[in-house]
């Protein structure tokens, strides 16, 4: 049985607790990094992380990108979307195709 974790600043992620996810409020990116590593070792299949923290710990997130678990998904925090999530999608396309063919027309 797997769980879903959410990492981010307290104000952004409080609500996720109500729908049954495990929330981990953090204040610094170092803390976020530590918790991410901890959760990755435990039974978390999906970890959502707010973009405000995701942008500072890209290297830690990339470490898990080639493993099957956990899936680390950046989500917008309450300060709005920073476009990190879309960047990830774009990066995948560039990695696979060699050129960005999905976002070119925008």
């Amino acid at each position: 049985m797997y769980k879903i974790g959410v990492i981010g600043d307290k104000d952004s992620i409080l609500g996720f607790k109500a729908i049954g996810m495990s929330v981990f409020p953090v204040t610094t990116s170092n803390e976020a990094e530590e918790i991410l590593d901890k959760l990755a070792r435990e039974e978390y299949a999906v970890i959502y992380i707010t973009e405000q923290f995701a942008k500072d710990i890209v290297s830690t997130i990339d470490k898990y990108s080639d493993d099957r678990f956990p899936a680390i998904i950046p989500i917008p925090g309450n300060q709005g979307s920073l476009g990190i999530g879309m960047m990830g999608v774009k990066k995948n396309v560039e990695r696979a195709v060699g050129a960005d063919i999905l976002f070119r027309d925008e």
Partner: protein, 219 residues
């Protein structure tokens, strides 16, 4: 393309020919795999993009609702209201095989099926905006999980495509040219040896005829 350092023998030639055949077949198979992976990946990544747009929009809505709820309620009250969740999610993870890549399939079960019983608080002390936020969030949940599944699959496929392409290129531009060059080299060398042998035999024959003629003239 440099040729390999091998002995130009028939044995080596037949060994290399076999290797070339295997390399050609492997190259064809890998190329087919790459094409199919690419097709699957593009479908997946388009879906990923759409899902991400939907989820980000939904979450922004949730955050807006929360902001208003926080403005109306005290932060202690809000925290107390959400402290003990009624709802719990159990996630079941199975894997699906897409072109030999194991991608996760997420299946979730919530403990409460009733739409109205997800609120972990009484309605007396909380504001209506909070209800709206929670409700919007629980509606976003299936999309969020699907996003997680799609995005991870896309990530894994991208990795596999990169790996496969490297192999295809190595076979196409290094292995196969190298093998064909070496085979050509051995064939030429063997032919040359053959010709050398033939000339030597002809020479020996001429010498022997000469000797025989001399012997006949003397005798």
């Amino acid at each position: 393309m440099a040729i390999m350092r091998v002995n130009p023998t028939r044995m080596e030639l037949s060994r290399l020919k076999k290797r070339l055949q295997v390399a050609r077949r492997g190259h064809k198979l890998l190329k087919d795999k790459l094409d199919e992976l690419m097709k699957k990946f593009l479908d997946l990544v388009r879906k990923n993009k759409e899902l991400r747009e939907t989820v980000e929009e939904m979450l922004m809505q949730v955050h807006q609702n929360f902001l208003i709820a926080r403005a109306v309620m005290s932060s202690e009250g809000l925290e107390a209201a959400l402290m003990l969740p009624k709802q719990s999610i159990s996630l079941e993870v199975t894997t699906k095989n897409i072109m030999s890549v194991d991608v996760p399939v997420l299946d979730y079960k919530t403990s409460n099926h009733d739409e109205s019983s997800i609120y972990p608080y009484g309605f007396a002390t909380t504001s209506g905006e909070l209800d709206g936020a929670i409700s919007a969030l629980s509606k976003a949940l299936p999309y969020m999980l699907e996003l997680a599944q799609t995005e991870k699959s896309a990530q894994l496929l991208a990795q596999e495509i990169e790996k496969t392409r490297r192999r295809v290129n190595a076979l196409e531009y290094v292995m196969i040219p190298q093998l064909s060059e070496t085979i050509k080299y051995i064939t030429m060398k063997l032919d040359e040896n053959e010709r050398g042998n033939l000339t030597r035999l002809m020479k020996v024959k001429d010498m022997m005829i000469e000797q025989a003629r001399k012997a006949a003239a003397q005798g």
